[in-house]
Amino acid sequence: MKRFLPPGPESVVSIGVLAVFGLAILFPFTLTHSDPVTGVAKEHLLAPGWTHWFGTDQLGRDVLTRIVYGARETLPAALLATLTGVVLGAFIGGLAALSAPVVDAALSGIIDVLLSIPELLLALTVVILTGFGPVHAAIAVGISQTAGFARIIRNLVRSLRAMPYIEAARLSGTGFGGMIWWHILPNAFRPVLGLAVLRYSMAILSLATLGFLGYGAPPPTPEWGLMIAEGRDYLATAWWMTTFPGLALLTVAFATNRLSHAMTRTRGDQP
């Protein structure tokens, strides 16, 4: 594990932050005791205070509780999205890089076409096709990320293939399969992992965007994007309803971003 997670204050803080969100996903009741869906009507729109740290919403639900339970909505879905993107992208990009020039040109053309459609528009097109809902939204975001992954993985594998040590391995009698298994995969793994972590932070934001636009989970799910959308109607009176879910998104996305930064940085240090 030490080879992938470099030590240093930046990654320690990032991992710490992500661990708190992980706790919220697995055991939300350890962080809060209220109910995320049903509120206390007479306690609606309370400003942040000792009983409700982040205030309450229009139905008297505790905002902090909803944020804690909201981690469960967005973060695993974003993981699904990124996994979809990485697996499809690695397959297409790897295939393009390792195939004959004709296949490479054809696949690269398809990648170029998909890249030309802005990611959010592509995700929306897929959402129209599959219908609304959290899983559909995750797959849509994953598909919209595929082309980006495929492009980068193709270029990475092609540059690895041109390394002298790959040719040296072939001259040592290593076959095509051995070259991929022993040389290309281990060398591609770390850069791709760093990229996937970065893309994960983007998937979180994209998913919350779909939620905000109303194409993800339906109310009263405590999804962060949806919470911000609901809070928009109380912008002038209840700033906490939009501010805190946004801060939660910002925190987790920034922590992931920094982690990816730390991971790709140490890679560059080696000769």
């Binding site: 390394m163 002298p164 040590y165 040719e167 040296a168 391995a169 001259l171 040592s172 009698g173 290593t174 076959g175 051995g178 022993w182 040389h183 281990p186 060398n187 080696q270 000769p271």
Partner: protein
């Protein structure tokens, strides 16, 4: 003792990187019109000293003690603004690698002009005239045309001339030349150093030359400092250093430098009569639309070393890849052990690739950074031999012993071992396939002389023990001379000369070979000291 005032006075200089001392207790002075050479292998601290003088050390470096004065001005105490006024005006700097030392985005004339713009109040037209004059001065025949050309339109030697023009533009009292010719072909090298000598004599500047090449220093420097691990191993006049070296390290360096020896006498090898290990006949290779190699022919006898010499762009790398069967020829043939390699079955090809191993130039990039040394050497063992784990283990130990590497290295990664050790690992991997022929591409070019000498020794040892045939490709005549029995000299893809190595070195037939041999540095014996009369210490 010199009676003149020193230009540069360095005393008790110490520099550390991240708290670790890199350079300690360095003291020397340079004088007008004189060349001082700082000599050392990689990691000796010679470039660090140069950067400290011009006050451009990286942030992690720190001058811990000592004084650096230029004409009486203390450089470490100068303000940033004062330093900018000194750099380029009082100190000219000629960088190491001309191909990457010019801004790729600007015409070269503008880049020379920049130093005038920074330090003089000349107007635009005056500056332009000055630049044209400088271009002519450093040997360009059409200065107006050169003024507008971009770096990528010039050859390496021409770029170095431009960089020299920048350095001497304002006739600075001190010129620092950091490995000014190590990236250039040997025939260009001499021209550039001649130019630098001429300019120094004309302007009376003091030159501080940083180099790893004893031969170059011998030709050009009045005084020399030999550095080792950041400390002065020997400080002497050039003549004394070569005729009567005081330190054991200098003696070792002199012994290991290929330029100062001819080939060690070897017993006669089996030559004619047997079937050649490699036979190349009338080989022509096209690379894209242009011909990279044309009508090349040579034979390599088993158990001998064939040297292939060429400067950059001579087509030697293309030739070598064709020899391995990696690219097809346009016409002609390559026979290995009597078989045509371009009409073999895939089983024959596999067998040939086992018996004919290629070893690469760059120590690090030819070893997979994600594999341990054990896995790297085991790769051919697993691929070519069906025997089990115990046999592999025994072979592994045997191979490491052959290339003189400790067993402890097995679990390390390539990034954790030195360049010389990497090349030994690469050799062990090649030998693991039990080859008859090794093709070595610039195999020792990236290594320091002392390491180079050990690897060359290892090669001859292996050749004797295993009766290997070598094809040794290099740009460095002095190195090839050490090892080759027969020789091909190629230029622009054409064979200039082919035959017995000693014969060619003794009586070169082609004019190009003669030029090449004359250009080998280190032949102007005691160089400057003899020609101009040495200043005694």
């Amino acid at each position: 003792m010199n009676t003149q005032r020193p230009v540069l006075d360095v005393s008790h200089l110490g520099i550390s990187y991240d708290g670790k001392p890199a350079v300690e207790n360095i003291s020397f002075q340079t004088f007008p019109g004189q060349t001082m050479a700082l000599i050392g292998e990689s990691g000796s601290g010679k470039s660090t000293i140069a950067k400290a003088i011009i006050q451009l050390l990286p942030p992690s470096a720190c001058v811990t003690h000592g004084i650096i004065t230029l004409n009486g001005i203390s450089l470490p105490d100068a303000t940033p603004r004062a330093l900018n006024a000194i750099r380029g005006h009082q100190i000219g700097f000629i960088p190491q690698d001309p191909s990457s030392s010019l801004d790729p985005r600007l015409p070269v004339g503008r880049q020379i002009e920049e130093v005038l713009r920074l330090h003089t109040s000349q107007r635009r037209a005056e500056r332009r005239a000055h630049v044209l004059h400088l271009l002519e001065h450093v040997g360009f025949s059409e200065p107006e045309r050169r003024f507008l050309q971009y770096p990528h339109e010039l050859s390496g030697g021409m770029k170095q001339r431009v960089l020299i023009a920048i350095a001497v533009a304002l006739a600075p009292p001190l010129i620092i030349a950091d490995e000014p010719t190590s990236a250039l072909d040997v025939t260009i090298q001499g021209q550039i150093l001649d130019l630098l000598d001429r300019l120094r004599e004309e302007s009376g500047s003091s030159v501080l030359m940083i180099t790893h090449d004893l031969a170059v220093a011998r030709d050009r420097a009045h005084d020399m400092i030999v550095l080792r691990h950041g400390q002065i191993a020997e400080q002497n006049t050039t003549r004394n250093l070569f005729e009567n070296p005081r330190s054991s390290y200098t003696r070792k360096l002199l012994a290991d430098s290929p330029a100062f020896h001819s080939r060690p006498a070897t017993p006669e090898r089996p030559v004619s009569g047997t079937q050649p290990a490699i036979q190349v006949k009338d080989l022509t290779i096209a690379y894209g639309s242009r011909t990279a190699v044309s009508h090349l022919s040579f034979d390599v006898q088993p158990g001998t070393t064939h040297g292939i010499i060429g400067e950059s762009g001579s087509g030697k790398t293309t030739l070598l890849r064709c020899l391995m069967g990696l690219i097809p020829p346009q016409s002609g043939s390559v026979h290995v052990q009597g078989k045509d390699i371009f009409s073999e079955t895939s089983a024959e090809r596999r067998q040939r690739l086992r018996s004919m191993q290629l070893v690469y130039q760059n120590p690090w990039s030819s070893l997979d950074p994600r594999l341990t040394i054990r896995r790297i050497i085991e790769e051919p063992l697993r691929n070519y031999f069906p025997e089990g784990q115990a046999w592999r283990q025994a072979r592994l130990h045997d191979l490491l012993e052959r290339v003189h590497l400790p067993l402890a290295l097995l679990e390390r990664y390539p990034s954790e071992i030195s360049g010389g050790q990497c090349q030994r690992v690469a050799l062990a991997r090649a030998l693991a396939a039990q080859p008859d022929i090794l093709v070595l591409d610039e195999f020792v070019s990236a290594l320091d002389v002392t390491v180079q000498a050990r690897i060359l020794e290892l090669l001859s040892e292996l050749q004797k023990e295993l009766n290997l045939t070598f094809v040794f490709v290099s740009h460095d005549l002095a190195v090839v001379r050490q090892i080759a029995d027969t020789l091909s000299i190629i230029r622009y893809g054409k064979q200039e000369e082919y035959g017995d190595a000693e014969q060619i070195f003794r009586e070169p037939a082609s004019p190009y070979t003669q030029t090449l041999l004359r250009a080998i540095p280190g032949q102007q014996h005691s160089g400057k000291a003899k020609r101009e009369g040495s200043k005694e210490w």
